[in-house]
């Protein structure tokens, strides 16, 4: 029970801070219950930052990254799971090695590449590198090799379906549960990413929520109520989405560890 309180308390306290004035929270003793100041705090927040602009940028990045990862990874996983081709072992081994290397090793040249491409300060500078997701290929390959019956593929082949028709009509419907997990996982990761947007985005009007919030906190660190209203608006949608999908998601997320 205590663990649940500790786990959930910050969310409660974020709401308390976001619904009171800063003075109420800093007074002694501090207010411990929800207040009625939420709309005013949100109003202050909107004056200080372009919240909806940042939100839109974040949604674009998260949605595009997720769609690209789902498509590329399930397609590659199909080839790895159900076909033999020269160099397959080498390519898959390379994937394994890259899974271990931290992305920070690449970030300086990535920055230079974005400068050269003219992508610095654009959202594709965040989306395109994130579309190469080794974990996703592992995950989808595992599921495809067991979850897609060979008989179905054979039947499709007899009817003359090529690789991509098999992928579209047989594989995709079969791997939907695995795609759901990979999709939520990628979406959450893209939504929460911080270091790449911090490096790649330069102008105030192109920030993602995480960077905008961090800058808001650094710039106006005394008006906590306003900052917390921003945190609330940025965190609650994701928590709600997660809670909706939680059952299958948690079971899938632990599978990786137990294998």
């Amino acid at each position: 029970m205590i663990c649940v309180v500790i786990s959930v308390f910050p969310f409660y306290w974020i709401i308390v801070m976001a619904t009171n004035t800063s003075q109420d929270i800093y007074s002694y003793p501090p207010k411990l219950w929800f207040g009625g100041n939420l709309l005013i705090n949100i109003q202050h927040l909107f004056d200080k930052m372009d919240f909806f602009g940042s939100l839109l940028n974040t949604v674009i990045v998260a949605v595009c990254t997720t769609l690209l990862v789902l498509f590329f990874d399930s397609l590659a996983a199909f080839a790895f799971a159900k076909y033999e081709f020269p160099g397959k072992k080498f390519l898959f081994g390379l994937l394994l090695a890259m899974y271990i290397l931290p992305t920070q090793l690449a970030i300086i040249p990535q920055y230079e590449i974005m400068v050269q491409l003219g992508w610095l300060g654009t959202l594709q500078a965040l989306i395109v590198p994130a579309a190469a997701n080794a974990f996703g290929i592992f995950w989808m390959r595992q599921y495809t090799s067991t979850g897609v019956p060979d008989e179905l593929l054979d039947a499709a082949r007899i009817e003359g379906a090529g690789f991509f028709r098999q992928y579209w009509h047989v594989v995709l419907p079969c791997v939907r549960p695995a795609l759901a997990f990979l999709g939520i996982y990628t979406f959450i990761a893209a939504w929460n990413d911080y270091i790449l947007p911090l490096v790649m985005l330069v102008n105030p009007d192109e920030l993602t929520l995480q960077v905008a919030l961090a800058q808001l906190y650094a710039g106006h660190s005394t008006d906590y109520s306003m900052v917390m209203a921003g945190v609330l608006l940025a965190v609650i949608p994701l928590v709600l989405v997660f809670t909706f999908f939680a059952r299958g998601f948690i079971a899938d997320a632990t599978k990786g560890a137990l294998r």
Binding site: P29, A79, Q104, I108, I113, A132, N192, L213, V235, L258
Partner: protein, 296 residues
Amino acid sequence: MARYWSQYLAVSPYYLIFSVFMLFPMLYTVYLAFQKWDGIGEMQFVGLQQFRFLWDDPIFWLSLRNTLVIWVLATVPMLFMALVLAVLVNSVRRFTAFYRVALFIPSITSLVAIAIFFGAIFSNNFGLINAILQAMHVSAVPWLSNEWTIKLVIAALMTWQWTGYNAIIYLAGLQAIPSELYEAARMDGAGPVRIFFSITIPLLRPIILFTVVVSTVTGLQSFTEPQVLFGSDASTNPNSGGPGQAGLTTLLYFYHQAFDNNDFGYAAAIVWAFFLLILLIVTINWRLVQRKERRP
């Protein structure tokens, strides 16, 4: 080869993006570590000079010590509490789905939001923690300006975020242990403590190894926590890790050298040296946990 064109086409998007945006940059970072470069002017080959400078750089060693201290302060209590939590949740039969969601939520919450939250409640002047201390007639602690409490706050942040996640991993492992084993042990007269150390821990060992490796890799890479907490602490010297540079982790130092000082060659040397160190620590960890496995 023509027979396989569709398979190659299917795997090519990943390898294309990966080669351009990951593999090539990683190799280029190795090359950069031997150059002096400010990002605009000419590169100048300096051989091992960056690494020699690194060896003599007291701030690099300070950042390394900070990173290791924060990692130990966070990981040890985190994994211990996660195991206790998992055993507790495993023993109750009701509301398990609710417990799982509650335990998992911190790990999907954005680190930036959590860092802001911790910055607010540990605030020196008005934070909730100091208000509680005052209510208990304990004098307030300047959490975010003292060398040790800064590390404690960052470690507490990491512990809060990842304890529940690890507990759920352990929980899944616990439920995979066949109940006959427990029954047999109870028949032989083993008490709960004995059962925990003789059955639960040995059978969970592969999973414990997994969590140790994962939390080592993620824990040593702490960057966002101190960056958000202390990013603009001093307008003259941004990203220096707060008062006394006590929150300067090695990755934050890397970021500072690369994107505040534009010393890309030196930053490349820092990040590669640091990565090799992480590899070393993970290998040592692995060996230690594996050896324990062989002993009984």
